[in-house]
Amino acid sequence: MVTPKTQDLPPPGGYQKIPFMRVPAKTLFNGFQIIGAYIGITTFAVYIYHLTNKQIQREEVEMRSARLALMPMLIAERDREFLKQVRKNRDEEARLMKNIPGWVVGTYYGEPIYKTKPVDHFDDNSLSWDDLCVHSDYRTQMIRQNFHLWN
């Protein structure tokens, strides 16, 4: 008696088909549409940038005009305050050293500071905070020097 062999056979109806063909992505836009969109959006953005740039230039011109108009007055006021302080220093020195023998106001014991210049030569090119704050305490001078260091 021959029993039928058990074999690993395909199911009835056969196997399904194996999908091996490519499935490309869905194209929403083609290449020309994408480049056209890029050019369109860039054009619009450049236009907006141009308008903003004009506004910024207008604001800069106004700021520059205001600064040019105000600077001479501010510098003149600073110079005026400087000269007032120098005069106060001279008067204070006259009061301070009036009993010292040999002291002449504006010199060093009678010896003028510059030998080849006239006696009333005011060398405002080489003054410093040391000369301005000579009648004040050290802290006052340091506060002003610090302020100028940061400005």
């Binding site: 600073r78 305050e81 400087f82 302080q85 106060k88 204070e92 020195e93 301070l96 050293m97 010292i100 002291w103 010199t107 060093y108 014991y109 010896e111 500071i113 510059y114 030998k115 080849t116 210049k117 060398d123 090119n125 080489s126 003054l127 410093s128 905070w129 040391d130 000369d131 301005l132 704050c133 000579v134 009648h135 004040s136 305490d137 006052t140 001078q141 506060i143 002003r144 302020f147 100028h148």
Partner: protein
């Protein structure tokens, strides 16, 4: 005041003078930051006219003025004398106020 009489070389010149060193000879001077530029010019012209050795004797005043502009010797000593006098008066009781109020902050 002996320590204020330094003889510093104010104008640095090269050791050997050649046409090559003449190109870049005068690099260090007081003309760029020219608070003392005019003093230096007067001194240099006088020294150039008289030479090094005679110039040091004849242009003594100009050299001293240039030194004074650079190092502020007499100005500093003046300031120190005034400060010491003020402190002495305060400690003796001759002053009512020790220091004056200073300049405005934006005065210089």
């Amino acid at each position: 005041m002996f320590f204020f009489d330094f003889k510093m070389p104010l104008v640095l010149t090269p050791f050997f003078r050649t046409p090559f060193t003449d190109f870049t000879g005068g690099l260090i001077n007081a003309q760029h930051y020219d608070k003392c530029g005019q003093f230096e010019l007067d001194m240099i012209e006088c020294m150039e006219a008289y030479g090094q050795d005679r110039g040091k004797i004849k242009c003594r005043d100009l050299i001293d003025d240039f030194n004074e502009c650079l190092f502020a010797t007499k100005r500093t000593m003046r300031g120190i004398a005034m400060i010491m006098e003020r402190d002495r008066q305060w400690r003796n009781g001759e002053r009512k106020v020790h220091h004056e109020p200073g300049p405005r902050i934006d005065a210089f």
